[in-house]
Symmetry: C2
């Protein structure tokens, strides 16, 4: 495989793939970061040295050792193409690079990066999916095998009709806190203090990450005409408190102004025996997807979900009354890397 | 594919694979039941006619139509082998036929039948697994993708360390009933009346079915040296009430004698905030598997499980503190058939 990106997820991929092995189940032709790349030609010792170099905080352009040195990206790509090998490209970057991914001419594409699967237009998405065998498990549920399960159901000719998912650990933590009667401002401050949110909590509270995941899930269910703009999203703060109107400190200071409204929504749900969950919903039958707070029965699988785990509830013609439910960690470099390697194993 | 067995699951496989289609994603070379078989050569209309013939209660030996007629099994097998095609064999029978499965010389074997995967000796099991690409999702969780998930984790180099599973809908129903304080005899009578048990409820209460599933799961985790005798099982009735000592009516009449003991176990668990669940447990690290009633925290995933759904809780080095949890229907011809077709799609 050719690995693009050598950040937290990319390094976990290399670490797990080469752990304790002189040989490996996975062979890396090349590893690239934003500075350049190394042709590895499947040399496990070299891959380990590249990993150590990155772990030490250096860029690949400055790598020397094992008779190899960092090369400009274009040179790496040209050398790989010249070999006319069958290989997979793994994208663990945060770049929006459908054209580049397709340009490799790889026989398979494996994504941990959500952008080529979500921010890409429907047209570019279809180009990506049709150009090579396509796997992208880790873009939605990290290691929780939601896309693999959808693929199995569709392969078995039982198309999902509706999927509801809590697919943000951060917003799961927030909703669990709201369940206990805490004010929104308090649970967001808690989540921020614990490092569960991005440095600007609005990156989570905006719902954009869930919107990306819901779109990817929708496209994997066959709704490949949908674009980000077709997936309505409910941010947990008003536009007046958005990044263009105030900085993070001001946002945190103003959070309390949202407490009363949220508390009354929580209380109204509670009266009906329900709790609020921040869900991505794919209604395959109606050809739609949406993202926002929904009230679910307290004693339903989504209602019982606590903390930062992800959960997916899958309905299909056969799983109509009793849905399939998957629950697992939704984040973490290791979980994500396992999903990437499992995908890779399927396509090599 | 060549389909062995044309009972509830086998017919659901044919029905779903050919539903509404003049062409099909799946091509059937031949369909066999215990009486004989039909060479179908991928003719969808013929497969539909064979299905209708079976739905009407006839055996395949008596089939005529579409220029084909029922043949003895040996003739069907000889004709398939003479074509030297690459094909998969699907076993939906209840026969114990590892040798026969291997003898087809198929490139892949897909099982809904538990016996070749469980009752087979470790040696025969290994023969089966190594002779062809092997898939057997539906032997454990019907359509719940437990084996596919284990395979993904192992492919991603994250071996499961421990799996706990409620994998009997019948015993799940019984345990849910016990939770509410009902006597064992009452919940078993209820389950029998609703048709949730086999005609002789001891076929469920013996735990043998769960023992098979736990063994298959253990073998799929790499414990392929284990045999049925290595998996201790706790039946929910004493040997004195076994089939060799009394008939079904006598067993049902005597059920009440088990109520006091069970009620005190339920009460003892409740005092600790626990409930009883009938689990198969695979301890991969210790190389062991076992089957029986275990007490689990009421607010754990297994503790919250209600009714006849299956649930699997998977721990691995990466899913250590927060396990992966899968929940879904554990039985049903359609769910089982979807699992079979999804397996088949992966290997053809």
């Amino acid at each position: 495989a050719v690995l693009l990106g050598c950040g937290g997820v990319g390094r976990a991929v290399l670490r797990i793939a080469t752990s304790g092995a002189e040989t490996s189940a996975f062979s890396f032709l090349a590893v690239l970061d934003s500075s350049g790349g190394i042709i590895c030609d499947g040399d496990v010792a070299l891959v380990k040295a590249v990993l150590a170099h990155k772990e030490a905080g250096h860029s690949l352009a400055s790598f020397t050792g094992h008779g190899k040195q960092g090369l400009p990206k274009d040179d790496v790509v040209a050398q790989i193409k010249a070999q006319s090998l069958k290989f997979a490209v793994i994208d663990t970057t945060a770049a929006d690079t459908v054209e580049e991914l397709v340009s490799f001419g790889a026989s398979a594409v494996v994504l941990a990066n959500k952008k080529p699967a979500a921010d890409a237009s429907a047209e570019n998405y279809k180009k990506l999916v049709s150009a090579a065998t396509f796997r992208h498990e880790s873009t939605v549920g990290a290691g929780t095998p939601i896309l693999a399960t959808v693929r199995r159901l569709r392969a078995g000719l039982d198309n999902p009709t509706r999927i509801e998912g809590c697919m943000s650990g951060t917003l799961g933590f927030v909703c669990s806190g709201l369940d206990t009667g805490k004010p929104l401002s308090e649970v967001v401050r808690e989540a921020k203090a614990l490092g569960y949110t991005e440095p600007d909590p609005r990156d989570d509270l905006s719902g954009t990450d869930v919107q990306r995941k819901a779109l990817i899930l929708a496209r994997s269910c066959g709704l490949d005409h949908l674009e980000m703009k077709d997936v309505p999203v409910e941010p947990l703060y008003p536009p007046s408190m958005g990044p263009e109107n105030m900085d993070v400190d001001a946002f945190m200071a103003n959070l309390g102004s949202l407490d009363t409204d949220m508390a009354s929504r929580v209380a109204a749900a509670k009266e009906r025996g329900e709790v609020l969950r921040y869900c991505g919903t794919v209604d395959v039958a109606a050809g739609k997807a949406s993202v926002g707070l929904v009230a679910v029965k307290s004693d339903s699988p989504l209602g019982r979900l606590q903390g930062a785990d992800n959960m997916f509830v899958i309905h299909s013609s056969i799983y109509a009354e009793r849905p399939l439910v998957l629950q697992g960690a939704g984040a973490g470099n290791e979980c994500t890397a396992i999903g990437v390697l499992a995908d890779l194993k399927e396509v090599i």
